[in-house]
Symmetry: C2
Subunit: 229 residues, 2 copies
């Protein structure tokens, strides 16, 4: 069974009709055949379809049923993630998508080693779409070009800001806070005191994941797994 | 600050005294210098030490303080993990150590693609020791040679067996069950009906991590992060 994200016009008239990159992906990578069933997600709705024809890069399907997609958390979870080496940042996007993170804001922090910039955006979006398909999300998580911490905090104004800090006393426990949440995870070397101050001024509260030290690439994923449970 | 695991005799007489592989690791990889402070863990105790001399592969240190190591969960968490491709299985060991798993039992499941065997044991132990040092655990998690599911279940007799199954209705919620827990995670293709039956007969209860499909290499880690919180 395939799970793909499509544009509303690709479901016009009660038919699935794909060509271009999406049709090619379905026909050549996923190798769907007539009779095969799958889900085409658009605007939060899961359209169950049966493939009726595959012609080159063009795939057509019949609409069987439409139900709300179930893969989204009840409240948005944004991850403010300090830039990491490329493989680690990609791993955060992939695993974070599986545990329900709805948006990623790459942050240029003082102690960042990885300095990837806006040129990674295309790659990041491809990682997110693929992970969202594999994990049966109801929407592809958003990702923005890297910004400074101040700008990142302005973007999540109104959300409860949870700063992961191994030295904090307060555990990230249940029940999860209601409403939008933003998790802030520093680079491997941690946030600087000035960055921690900035987050505190923006209403951020420090939390610990317990006595064990988690790598930067795992901390946000573990926190989101706990919050979205 | 370093964090290493040592044998009791390497702390005899109130002095840290390392040579051989551990001394070499500290002297050449971590490059400790006289005056540097760190923790040497033995039998669940964190011995805070100050390095007094480094001579080739021989490292000596003065014992400053002994406190119980805090990095262990309150109850044992064993992961019965179906064998995965090598890189994925190593990633499970590394991340699982960070979230508090105390023992790993590699399981030969019917749908396993990765078929690594006992020849991986040395590599697995090295991954676990390194991850336990980095995450400041109080003990290095155990790992055994791969076994059949039946033998794995016999090994965890007495533990509450939580079978992760995306089709289950019951969420893996709080509060965490008291006492020893074993989490069972299948290969990418899932457990077979016969394997699910076998686990049910052994007292296993199926749980879901929610509506999102997690990759095999993340599912056990996410479950342990929730349970050890």
């Amino acid at each position: 069974m395939f799970w793909i994200f499509v544009a509303p016009e690709q479901l016009a008239g009660g038919e699935l009709s794909l060509d271009g990159a999406r049709g090619r992906h379905l026909a050549r990578v996923l190798r769907v055949k007539p009779g095969e069933r799958g889900v085409a997600v658009s605007q939060g709705l899961a359209h169950h379809v049966t493939v009726t024809a595959v012609d080159g890069d063009r795939v057509s399907g019949r609409l069987d049923e439409v139900v709300p997609a179930r893969g989204e958390p009840s409240h948005p979870i944004t991850l403010l993630q300090a830039l990491l080496p490329h493989a680690d940042f990609d791993a955060v996007l992939e695993a974070g998508t599986q545990v329900g993170i709805t948006g990623f804001i790459p942050v240029r922090a003082a102690r960042c080693v990885g300095r990837g910039g806006a040129e990674r955006l295309g790659r990041w979006r491809a990682v997110l779409e693929s992970a969202a398909e594999q994990s049966h999300r109801g929407a592809i998580p958003a990702v923005a070009a890297p910004v400074d911490l101040e700008e990142a905090l302005a973007t999540v104004a109104g959300a409860r800001i949870l700063v992961l800090d191994p030295t904090a006393a307060q555990p990230l426990g249940h029940p999860a806070p209601a409403g939008a949440v933003a998790i802030a995870v520093g680079p491997e070397g941690g946030w600087t005191p000035a960055e921690l101050d900035l987050m505190r001024q923006a209403g951020g509260v420090s939390f610990t994941l317990g006595p064990r030290i988690l790598r930067a690439r795992l901390a946000g994923v573990a926190a989101a797994a706990i919050l979205s449970q």
